[in-house]
């Protein structure tokens, strides 16, 4: 390895140093590689096992690697769900002194899934719509902080299960730019890119026989426009009402909370006569329910999972008649008596199947169906046993699914071998 290898990272995992940096990624020996990404990507990307976690390594120019590393760090600071940048490595040379491309190292998000790994046989309409909805939420959040993506697609997004829905994470920030604020033209352009790319991705699944017959790719991809616009309007739109209708301020806050957002700053203006009030959210933060759950229980979960857990917490409070007890105290009790026993009951070998909060959500669903079928209230412990044996045990492990990283490729291209179907690996 070259003595002058240059690593930029917040903290360096020593395991990173031991990787065969003097070889082009394409030639890395099989034992270092967690799995070979299928298909063809703009850059060569490989996944490698480090101490207890998987990293994605992308070969690109030093300039682009640094830029994307900085961009991802900035997005993280802005609380945008995205992959975790680990390091940029430049000054690579081969054993014979030939310069090699720089790399960007990102950490694989546990329990995140590429869209093509979400379905087993073919993509169903409900799932497709949920993926598109999740992407719309991500796009709105990106636009709110002034990020123009430039390459919005399902392929450039990873999805985490979120209590029946999905939460989307940005994977590829290479084309992105951060501005003080986006013009309508920039937002519209990203939206159009999204619409065309999603349609292309779904048409590709259709051509490969992986799309449910009932899906109209164009209609599903059009769905992002509507979803995006309604959310954007709710988050940023100005509302004008009579000053006697001031309850509408609270109503707006509640609507945003329900959508999973908190208002950090609301501009309220009255006209000169004082008869009209104009309100507009200025700063909004996603994660209303996750934050509340974290504050009350210390549990970290996706937004809808958090909503689900909080509902169960409320039900617990009601069932045990603890409305007068301090919310924090009840939450602590619920965590210790309900949530943690459930999670502890999951056999160790099944813990890589799903995230704990997702398991809890699925368990609640399972109990509901069991109760309905048997016509009685099934206790949680009983439902748990049934859920583990009839559902969880038969699922695949989703903790570190990385294939396929993308279903598409962009010119110019580097070809990797792809003899095995990725589905054999998931």
């Amino acid at each position: 390895m070259s003595g002058s290898l240059n690593i930029t990272a917040a903290t360096v995992d020593p395991g990173l140093l031991d990787l065969p940096w003097a070889l082009p990624l394409e030639l890395w020996p099989e034992e270092t590689i967690a799995a070979l990404p299928k298909g063809i990507s703009r850059h060569v990307v490989r996944f490698v096992n480090l101490s207890g976690y998987v990293v994605a390594i992308k070969e690109t120019s030093a300039e682009l690697a640094k830029r994307e590393y900085d961009m991802l760090r900035t997005l993280q600071r802005l609380d945008i769900p995205c992959v975790d940048p680990v390091a940029v490595i430049t000054n690579r040379t081969s054993a014979t002194g030939e310069p090699l491309e720089s790399v960007l190292v990102t950490r694989h998000l546990r329990f995140s899934l590429p869209y093509r790994a979400i379905y087993s046989q073919s993509l169903r309409p409900e799932t497709a719509t949920r993926l598109v909805d999740a992407l719309a939420v991500l796009l709105v959040r990106l636009h709110v902080v002034g990020f123009f993506w430039g390459d919005v697609s399902l392929s450039n997004t990873l999805f985490r299960r979120d209590a029946g829905a999905f939460a989307a994470y940005l994977v590829d920030a290479e084309t992105g730019q951060l501005y003080d604020g986006l013009s309508n033209g920039q937002r519209e352009n990203d939206l159009e890119i999204a619409r065309v790319n999603i349609a292309g991705e779904l048409l590709d699944l259709q051509a490969g026989g992986r799309l449910d017959e009932d899906i109209d790719p164009v209609a599903i991809s059009d769905g992002i426009v509507e979803k995006y616009r309604s959310l954007w309007k709710e988050l940023t739109g100005t509302e004008v009402f009579d000053s006697s209708e001031r309850w509408r301020i609270n109503q707006r806050v509640e609507r945003l909370n329900e959508l999973g957002f908190d208002i950090e700053e609301l501009a309220i203006r009255t006209d000169e006569t004082g008869t009209q009030v104009r309100i507009q959210p200025k700063v909004v933060d996603a994660g209303h329910h996750s934050r509340r759950l974290l504050r009350l229980t210390g549990l970290d979960a996706q937004e809808n999972q958090a909503r689900r857990l909080l509902n169960d917490l409320d039900a617990y409070r009601l069932a045990f008649d603890k409305q007068d007890v301090d919310e924090e105290v009840v939450a602590h009790e619920w965590t210790a008596r309900v949530f943690e026993p459930v999670i502890r009951a999951i056999p160790k070998e099944l813990r890589g199947k799903l995230e704990p909060a997702e398991i809890f959500h699925q368990l609640l669903e399972h109990r509901w169906y069991l109760s309905q079928d048997s016509g009685r209230d099934v206790p949680l412990a009983e439902a748990m046993t049934s859920y583990i044996d009839t559902v969880l045990r038969h699922r695949r492990d989703e903790a570190t699914i990385i294939n396929p990283p993308t279903g598409t490729f962009t010119a110019p291209v580097d070809v990797l071998d792809d003899e095995d179907d990725w589905r054999s690996k998931v």
């Binding site: 063809i40 352009n189 164009v218 991809s221 010119a411």
Partner: protein
């Protein structure tokens, strides 16, 4: 197809006192390949984004053909951003990859097939239409991506540093392909780059920007032989033109111990005692002795038949770097002391205060 007009188009970012793009007046003729070039932060990408509808135009107008598009959303402007990370889909044929965006736009099947076929012919992709992208070479895949833009039959192609992600070899190849394809298609194209070589080799005309202000628009030859000011003179050409201040003396300009002849018209255009002199590396004569500007050689870069001598001299107590083209084999070496003179009548002169060009005529390079 259509012309493009920037009519005093201005972009002022909120909170900024200086316009990112300042009252640009620019006409791109129907079918023309215009390159916007300049250093980073000069406003070239902003100018392109204004045309694309991605940036607000705070003042002035933008027209495509006769249509004022200043306030028209991007997707309704009938433009195509080429190479905008076009994905190729592995399970779709080349024809489907090229035509699917038309399907989304609601174009009927016959029309789609006709347009795809037409584009495939232009791109030499006809034999591959029913194949999957996997069976294509890298270059063919790139042409499929171009095909996606072509089938839309836009009025204008926009390209923002499309080659910046490519390695050097592919960049040169693709540069040629884009330029020749654009000529075959005859679609008005606005292309942004920071690379003046790319600009010189691709554009019918080049617009040079600096600090949001248009410096000069002209053919590559105009810019090379008659740069309008010191900035354009230094920016266009590689290695860059030698530029330094010189005293006006009887019969021309002081060039070390020699006098460089400059025509009367040129120096008549200023009343100052000094001008900024500009000599391209290929217009520098290098001798081992004699009259001229003494230069110490730092390094000689051999490029086969030719080479470039990089050295330095001192003018009025300041170090000035000098570049000269030399023979690839018979040339001085690092550490040598040489004397340089300009080829007669191959001198650009600029007002040393304003930087504006003083020569009335173009200076044809040797």
């Amino acid at each position: 197809m259509a012309s493009v007009t920037f009519d005093k188009a201005t972009r002022l970012y909120p909170g900024s006192t200086r316009a990112a793009v300042d009252q640009i007046d620019l006409e791109v003729a129907d079918g023309e390949f215009l390159v916007l070039v300049g250093p980073s932060g000069c406003g070239k990408s902003t100018t392109l984004r204004m045309l694309a509808g991605l940036e607000e135009v705070n003042d002035g107008r933008i027209l495509i053909g006769d249509r004022d598009v200043t306030d028209v959303p991007p997707k309704d402007r009938d433009i195509a951003m080429v190479f905008q990370n076009y994905a190729l889909y592995p399970h779709m044929t080349v024809a489907e990859n090229m035509g699917f965006a038309l399907k989304i736009a609601g174009v009927n099947k016959e029309e789609r097939a006709a347009r795809v076929l037409e584009a495939a012919k232009l791109l030499d992709l006809e034999p591959y239409l029913s194949r999957k992208p996997k069976a294509l070479s890298g270059g063919q895949r790139q042409r499929v991506a171009m095909g996606r833009a072509i089938v839309r039959q836009p009025q204008v192609f926009l390209m923002d540093e499309p080659l910046s992600n490519l390695d050097a070899k592919l960049r040169v190849q693709t540069r040629t392909q884009i330029a020749s394809l654009q000529r075959r298609l005859g679609v008005t194209t606005v292309y942004v780059t920071h690379d003046q070589t790319e600009a010189l080799t691709m554009g019918d005309r080049i617009a040079v920007l600096k600090d949001g202000v248009l410096q000069q628009v002209g053919t590559p030859r105009d810019l090379y032989e008659a740069p309008k000011n010191v900035f354009v003179a230094g920016f266009i050409g590689s290695p860059a033109m030698n530029l330094f201040d010189a005293d006006i003396v009887d019969g021309g300009l002081k060039f070390g111990t020699a006098t460089a002849k400059v025509d009367r018209d040129t120096l008549g255009a200023t009343s100052a005692k000094k001008v900024t002199i500009g000599v391209r590396p290929e217009d520098v004569k290098v001798a081992t002795s004699g009259q001229g500007l003494p230069v110490e050689v730092d390094v000689v870069e051999e490029l086969g038949a030719d080479g470039y001598l990089y050295g330095h001299t001192e003018i009025d107590g300041n170090r000035v770097d000098i570049v000269a083209r030399v023979d690839g084999r018979n040339h001085p070496n690092a550490g040598d002391k040489v004397v340089i003179t300009p080829e007669p009548n191959h001198i650009h002169a600029f007002d040393s205060e304003s930087g504006e060009r003083l020569n009335k005529k173009a200076v044809v390079a040797s």
